[in-house]
Amino acid sequence: MISNLISPKFFTLLKVQYSNMLEYRVEIALWAISGIIPFFMLNIWTNNDLNESLNISDIMLSRYFLCAFFVRQFSVVWVVFSFEEDSLMGKVSPYLIQPLNPFFRYFAQHLAEQITRFPFALIIAFFFFLVNPESIWIPNFGILFLGTISTFLSFLIQFLIQSIVACLCFWTEKASSIERLLFIPTLFLSGLLAPVVSFPENVKSWIYLTPFPYLIDFPANLLSGNATNISIGFSMQILWIILLFPVFKKIWSEGTKKYTAMGS
């Protein structure tokens, strides 16, 4: 299955999906804009001096939220919604016959969308720096590299979780409501709205064992130069991927046996 990733098949898929995504530029720009919630949060934080007791300066906090915005932009996953629609419409049947797991198609779709989204995210960052010129900084190459990798790993974790949820479509038809349920802890615990260091102690004691802080808080801290434990962060990200992957494989093979080709 992994070997498929480097095969020419996958690159062809990626190219097709990229030109497909370029068709929907306006839509993707709107998606990019709809991710600006971290900036509103930053505004609340700095405007009410909430960060004083945390020992994070305004500048570091603004960099944190900018990075959180970026990480979120490049780890948005919607595979369950696409898969649900395809499975309700019976479009999954032809995909199943092809000698490639259909999830590669969705994976390529997400990667292509991220490439299309990149310039829009840069434009939003440019406006952010126009408003907050004091927070301009250029992370060094090593940090940028590690940050990109951790963002990608965060994307992988979320992609795997959602793919597992998507496979539940084989049983319940409407799996997107489960995804909406899972999105709530992701929203509040991942560090998108408030950095995890600011959480109360009794939450902090267990939160680092869940995948949530590694989705946005860890990559954003890494990129923005805030304090974080790099080796533990990476190992937890990889650990979660290793844990989730067999679950996905299992549920996929069980699900395809159950598949009844609805609507065709």
């Binding site: 306006v26 839509e27 919630i37």
Partner: protein, 264 residues
């Protein structure tokens, strides 16, 4: 306008949408859970904020809970009526089925805005009302007739503004067709309705009271609730609501002139 006819049609709408929604019973249960979790999450976020500062934008924790309660009620209304119906406009325009709506001997805006209903939003409305009742207790507000009518008026105005905003954005699809996620942008802006307007910086405050009047949607009713609102703010909200309703109606009629149907 024949009121009797419209109420009869609406009961039919209610009946059919309830029947189709109850097909997915587990879904409703999961949605209920999502609503509860999302309220817990917002209160968790508020506690993080208030952990570092006693007041936010001049609001204490108990007072900020009122905003949360009103936001929850309005969000419930959005999920019950606006979201399922108005996202449908995009589909109607894309697939050309708006023709069938326009041909019906009934007002098209009425049909498009109220056709569907998702019952799981009711729980959110109820949760919001419970939170508000709890708030009246902890803030020692004594309920009397005048107070209740004022609250009701401002909340109804908020609903009207909210509806008009959604309807405006959805109507633009008649020209742009592919803006599935324009409503997502609105959703992310509405997110800041969970916090008092004063907690934002001056420029954002202006933006959110002039261009997208989110300020009026939650902050004004909450101030009425606390008994600290000035009469001119309430009057202004009523005027804004009327203007928004009127222009959204005109905008719909104007947009329909440009509707050129699809594939026919």
């Amino acid at each position: 306008m024949n009121l009797y006819k419209y109420s009869k049609v609406y009961t039919k709408f209610l009946y059919t949408s309830l029947a189709s929604e109850l097909e997915y019973k587990v879904n409703i249960l999961i949605d209920l859970l999502t609503a509860i979790l999302s309220l817990i999450g917002s209160i968790f976020l508020l506690t993080i904020f208030f952990q570092n500062n006693a007041t936010i934008g001049g609001w204490e924790f108990q007072q900020a809970l009122i905003i949360q309660g009103i936001y929850t009620i309005l969000n419930g209304i959005t999920n019950t009526w606006f979201n399922p119906n108005l996202t449908e406009i995009v589909k109607h325009v894309r697939e050309g089925t708006l023709d069938f709506v326009l041909l019906k001997p009934i007002d098209s805006q009425f049909f498009i805005s109220l056709k569907k209903m998702t019952p799981s939003g009711f729980l959110e409305i109820m949760l919001g009302i419970c939170l508000l009742l709890y708030c009246t207790k902890i803030n020692q507000i004594n309920l009397n007739f005048n107070f209740l009518t004022l609250c009701l008026i401002t909340i109804i105005c908020s609903i009207c503004i909210l509806y008009s905003l959604w309807f405006f954005i959805s109507t633009t699809t008649i020209w742009f067709v592919k803006t599935w996620n324009a409503t997502e942008v609105l959703r992310s802006f509405l997110y800041i309705g969970r916090f008092p307007l004063n907690s934002f910086s001056f420029s954002l405050r202006i933006f959110f009271s002039v261009f997208i009047p989110i300020a009026f949607i939650t902050t004004v009713p909450s101030e009425v609730f606390l008994g600290i609102s000035q009469i001119w703010k309430i009057l202004l909200e009523v005027i804004v609501a009327l203007v928004f309703l009127f222009t959204s109606r005109k905008f719909w009629l104007f947009a329909l002139r440009y509707y050129s149907s699809a594939s026919s």
